[in-house]
């Protein structure tokens, strides 16, 4: 091998020119694998292009290295604001998710016990006929990993086409409580701050989330400030010690479910010590309390009533209920009482997957509003999202059973009328009754039709409910016994959901298609297709449009707009219609761009203006509202703040222009503590908490097929306190049986793991499809958000015959 081979300048330039020419040709062909912000082919023949990472809600940008039609390398994108060239271990290996050995490559139909391969035409036809036979009993279950055009296409098909509101997404299981929290307090969804707050805060409080593992790039953004000599105080309020705790100055261990009490305790002290921000509260806030029955906007109360309601929440009471020492509560209240220190609160599933999720979200916002820690860089209550586009697709496009695009509500006649006009469909097309939310939808699907199970056909895209729903036996597996139910699943790999599917459709993944995601800080970011999908895999968006077209052919009137034309129409540069439902023609135009521009019109109502597609394509994402000023498109870093948010009136300072009380005020809430629906007792003496780990993303269907990640964390385990293990004579690594009232599971015990639960508490991650912990979890939902509580139920541990786990857990 010639080690000193000379690569001369001519050769290098030739390679670079070839790459540019290829990309230009592709751009003309509409596949548009353009080098927007990318680099020409390097010495290894790899050409690089930008894309947002496929995984979590942080929304890091990566540079994807492609060679010979394959993704071969990944690098952090240094031009991206979010991550500035850094990634986490999942992000570094995200390119490898495309190449698992058992990638789905052809449509499959279940005949008898087996799945046999069929043609796409037959697959779409089968599904369309099912839907056409009984459109009102059809439900569409989507995902926070849907791209914005995919979600929008499904939304339009269901709400504007079929007049059917049974469309919901898996973000119901993770972000719904954050949504109701934001709506209750600010009248509009999504964080007002952004990741810039992390660079300016003096104190960051983690409310029940393990950011070191779950949002690692954001977490290291905080702790690396220390390496630059800055002082930052980190506080971990949690039910168990995690890797996050190691880096925090304060660890407040609370009993499960008692975060509401802690927040109320802080508010109580702020009022008692008179350290709340009187001016901020007088100028910008109003008070609310719950009604009976509970409702999203409650009832207005006065400051005095609020003070009275908080009276019982003395530090001593808080200590009794939550287990956090009273002086730590006082410490928190003192912190919030200091105006000159900037405090950011971050939370995720600990607060959202909670039967009092809406309440605790409201209370944490209220603590920030009451103490005036809002509206300056570093002062922000921010809910982080878990999925790459839970914000961009589910929350903003409104792919939930009660929403319309742009924050509009199905139940609001004026909103329906406006959407009918924008979609150009006949008045009355959109149904006014709210559809089934996720848990309800699956309950109905798993109930016999003659016993009220009014969903008979389900289309699942880009998600794995067979592993992620709570109480799996009842909400999913029951389908086995119901012959007349039809489950169609679009996915990239066989999953726990495809196990019971009647129709399996192979889908394109990530950079095999164009896409747009929206991350936790309101940043909408776009990417172009870079490689071809394998076998016969096709885009999810195409599947939805093809289904709509087949229904149109079968004569369903809903597929026509007011002028009798097909609901999904795409024009080329000469304004001629392109039949994109024919896969060969799908990439003749940029379907993503046209759907996105169609959807953009809806975003003005709640001032969530999105930038034009081409502006997004040239950037590393932009934070809405993006408005044009002086010919340039300007993003918004901090909402509701004058000079940052273009919609705040001059001289207003801070203006909550979507206030639910219509007076530009945010709402400070009082919510009482309510005990959890299931707590440990004699028979089931442990708390069982479920969650995630760094190496695997959600149900692990992608990450467990990446060798590095699978070897780093091969399977699930149960974390247990060493004293409990000793008491039960369980050794580290021994297989034990965990049981709840709903099921039982065998797992290796880990007593010195990366998470250290307190005595009487267990933790199990849910990424392992061979260990379905959701067979054991509780199906109890928050009354307003309908989000289930995966974090608390009662469990028992049993030592079995002394089996030892030969491998390290």
């Amino acid at each position: 091998m010639d080690e000193l081979s000379v690569v001369d300048r001519r050769h290098f330039l030739r390679m670079a020119a070839m790459a540019t020419a290829t990309s230009m040709a592709q751009a003309r062909a509409g596949t548009a694998a353009s080098n927007q912000g990318g680099v020409p082919a390097d010495r290894n023949g790899i050409s690089w292009n930008k894309a947002p990472c496929r995984f979590c809600g942080t929304g890091c940008h990566v540079q994807v290295g492609v060679r010979d039609g394959r993704v071969v390398a990944i690098a952090g994108d240094r031009a991206a604001d979010v991550n500035r060239g850094l990634l986490c271990v999942k992000g570094y290996h995200v390119g490898m998710i495309l190449y698992g050995r058992d990638r789905l490559t052809e449509p499959l139909l279940r005949r008898g016990d087996k799945l046999v391969s069929i043609s796409w035409d037959e697959a779409i036809d089968t599904l369309a006929r099912r839907v056409h036979a009984d459109p009102a009993k059809f439900a569409f279950y989507g995902s926070g990993q849907w791209t914005i055009p995919e979600g929008y296409a499904a939304q339009k098909l269901m709400k504007a086409g079929l007049g059917n509101n049974h469309i919901d997404a898996n973000a119901r299981l993770c972000m719904a409580s954050a949504v109701t929290g934001y709506l209750s307090c600010y009248g509009v969804d999504e964080p007002a701050g952004c990741y810039d707050d992390l660079d300016h805060c003096d104190v960051c409080i983690f409310w029940g989330n393990n950011a070191a593992e779950m949002h690692p790039v954001l977490f290291s953004r905080l702790i690396d400030r220390r390496a630059r000599g800055q002082r930052i105080e980190l506080i971990d309020i949690a039910t168990r010690r995690t890797r996050t705790t190691e880096h925090c100055q304060h660890y407040l261990e609370m009993r499960p479910h008692t975060d509401t009490v802690i927040a109320n305790g802080i508010a109580h002290l702020l009022l008692r010590n008179n350290t709340h921000d009187r001016r901020f509260v007088e100028n910008h806030c109003a008070f609310k309390a719950d009604t009976n029955p509970i409702s999203l906007h409650g009832r207005s109360i006065t400051l005095e009533e609020y003070r009275k309601m908080l009276e019982p929440y003395t530090p001593e009471h808080v200590e009794r209920v939550s287990g956090v020492p009273a002086d730590k509560i006082r410490m928190l209240a003192d912190l919030f009482g200091q105006r000159d220190r900037r405090i950011t609160s971050l939370w995720c599933m600990g607060m959202n997957q909670h039967t009092q999720g809406t309440a605790v979200n409201r209370l944490v916002h209220s603590v920030h509003l009451l103490s005036g820690h809002f509206g300056r860089p570093g002062d922000a209550p921010t809910s982080l999202t878990g999925q790459p586009s839970a914000c961009g697709t589910v929350r903003e496009v409104g792919t939930l059973c009660h929403l319309l695009p742009g924050g509009r509500m199905v139940a609001n006649a004026a909103h329906r009328e406006e959407c009918e006009r924008l979609w150009n469909v006949p008045p009355g097309r959109i149904r006014g009754a709210i559809g089934h939310h996720t848990v309800q939808m699956w309950e109905k699907f798993c109930t016999p039709t003659d016993k009220g199970g009014d969903i008979t056909t389900m289309f699942v895209q880009v998600t794995n409910p067979g592993q992620s729903l709570p109480d799996l036996e009842r909400l999913f597996r029951e389908k086995r016994n119901l012959a007349d139910k039809f489950l169609a699943v679009s996915d990239v790999y066989p999953t726990a959901t495809t196990e019971l599917a009647d129709l399996v459709l192979p889908a394109s993944l990530w950079v095999e298609k164009n896409g747009i995601f929206g991350n936790s800080e309101r940043r909408t970011q776009q990417w172009f297709r870079m490689i071809q999908p394998p076998g016969q895999a096709r885009d999810d968006c195409w599947m939805t449009i093809a289904l709509a077209r087949r229904l149109f052919d079968l004569g369903h009137m809903g597929m026509r707009d007011r002028d009798g034309r097909f609901l999904f129409s795409f024009l080329d540069d000469q304004r001629r219609e392109v039949p994109v439902w024919d896969w060969k023609r799908y990439y003749d135009v940029n379907v993503d761009k046209q759907l996105y521009e169609d959807y953009r019109r809806f975003t003005r109502l709640e001032h969530k203006d999105l930038a034009p597609y081409d502006v997004l394509a040239a950037s590393r994402g932009l934070r809405w509202p993006v408005v044009e000023s002086d010919g340039a498109w300007r993003e918004t870093k901090f909402r509701f703040v004058e000079n940052e948010d273009p919609y705040v009136g001059r001289g207003k300072g801070i203006q909550f222009y979507h206030s639910s009380t219509r007076n530009d005020r945010a709402q400070i809430w009082f919510c009482a503590y309510e005990p959890p629906p299931e707590a440990p007792n004699e028979e089931y003496p442990f708390w069982l908490c479920t969650g995630r780990v760094l190496e695997h993303w959600h149900t692990g269907t992608m990450t467990r097929r990446v060798e590095v990640l699978r070897r780093a964390m091969p399977r699930a385990y149960v974390e247990m306190h060493p004293d409990d293990a000793r008491r039960l004579a369980i050794q580290n690594g021994e297989i034990v049986e965990i049981a709840t009232r709903r099921g039982r599971l065998r797992l290796p015990a880990w007593t010195d793991g990366r998470g250290r639960p307190p005595r009487g508490s267990l933790f199990v991650p849910f990424f392992d499809e061979t260990k379905l912990i959701n067979l054991l979890t509780l199906n109890a939902v928050d009354p307003l958000s309908k989000e289930p509580d995966y974090k608390k139920c009662a469990a028992a541990v049993r030592k079995i015959n002394g089996e030892r786990d030969g491998q390290r857990p």
């Binding site: 080690e3 001369d8 850094l86 986490c88 690396d224 220390r226 190691e246």
Partner: protein, 278 residues
């Protein structure tokens, strides 16, 4: 001196037989009174006896303590034994913490371990075999060129102090190299580096062999982007793999001669400049 008072005290006690022979010596001027010579003799005797007594006394006390050991019943207040041959007994409450055994005095922090003498820098660039070995051992730990290396040894699940103990400054222990971090100190180590076994990974996108030289003796261009590898010496310095070591570690301004040609290192205005007509 033999004052009259003393003489009176003892005079009666002394037998006459003592005085007569002493008087014959000439130390007494007359019975009971010392002459000058006598005085000198007396002083010499007293001093001699004192000195002798002092030195004998010193010997005596050592002898006494040895006796005490042989006679355990003897309650003698013993001083600290400083020759190290016996261990002081520890309090029971501290017994579990006290280090006993042959390496009880070992409290050397890891970074003060005596490092092996690193071989002097190679006189010529490494040969093909060495480079291949270096590349193989690097590739074993990386999913692709540019991926964060996997951790080939068990680690503590929590905390980063144990990572920094070896990787903050780099360390060589026998044949094992713990490379100094090639990137700035990011403190959430396990965010990017995870433990995985030593089996080799499927080849994903590894770098080509060699590096670009414009002509035979030209300094090779940097074959990889500089990002995350800002500290050149962590891989190419004295604690690097044999196949990667530079012949000139004393020159620390590496980018002065070795050009970063990876497209990722191009300044942001390169693309727009190259489009301009000259």
């Amino acid at each position: 001196m033999c004052s009259s008072r003393a003489k009176n005290q003892w005079g009666a006690g002394w037998s006459a037989s003592m005085i007569r022979p002493v008087a014959r010596l000439g130390v007494l001027k007359r019975p009971g009174v010392l002459s000058a010579r006598g005085m000198w003799v007396l002083v010499t005797v007293v001093l001699t006896i004192s000195a002798t007594g002092y030195f004998v006394g010193l010997r005596e006390s050592r002898k006494t303590s040895a006796d005490a050991r042989l006679l355990p019943g003897l309650s003698v207040k013993k001083e600290e034994d400083t020759d190290g041959s016996t261990l002081p007994a520890a309090k029971y409450s501290e017994l579990s913490r006290i280090k006993l055994g042959p390496n009880r005095d070992w409290s050397v922090p890891l970074d003060k371990l005596v490092q092996p003498e690193s071989a002097p820098p190679p006189k010529a660039p490494p040969d093909a075999v060495q480079r291949d070995n270096a590349r193989t051992s690097r590739n074993e730990r990386r999913a692709f060129e540019g991926a964060p290396p996997l951790i080939p040894h068990p680690t503590l699940q929590q905390g980063v102090a144990s990572c920094l103990a070896c990787h903050e400054k780099g360390m060589v222990v026998g044949k094992k190299i713990a490379a100094k971090m090639s990137h700035p100190a990011y403190l959430n180590c396990t965010q990017c580096h995870v433990e995985a076994g030593p089996e080799s990974l499927t080849d994903f996108a590894m770098s080509k062999s060699g590096s670009d030289r414009a002509f035979d003796s030209a300094p090779p261009a940097l074959p990889h982007p500089v990002w995350m590898r800002e500290n050149c010496l962590s891989c190419h310095g004295p604690k690097g793999l044999a196949g990667l070591r530079t012949t000139h570690p004393e020159r620390t301004s590496c980018l002065q001669c070795h050009a970063p040609v990876a497209p990722q290192d191009a300044p942001p205005w390169v693309a727009s400049v190259s489009k301009e007509k000259p």
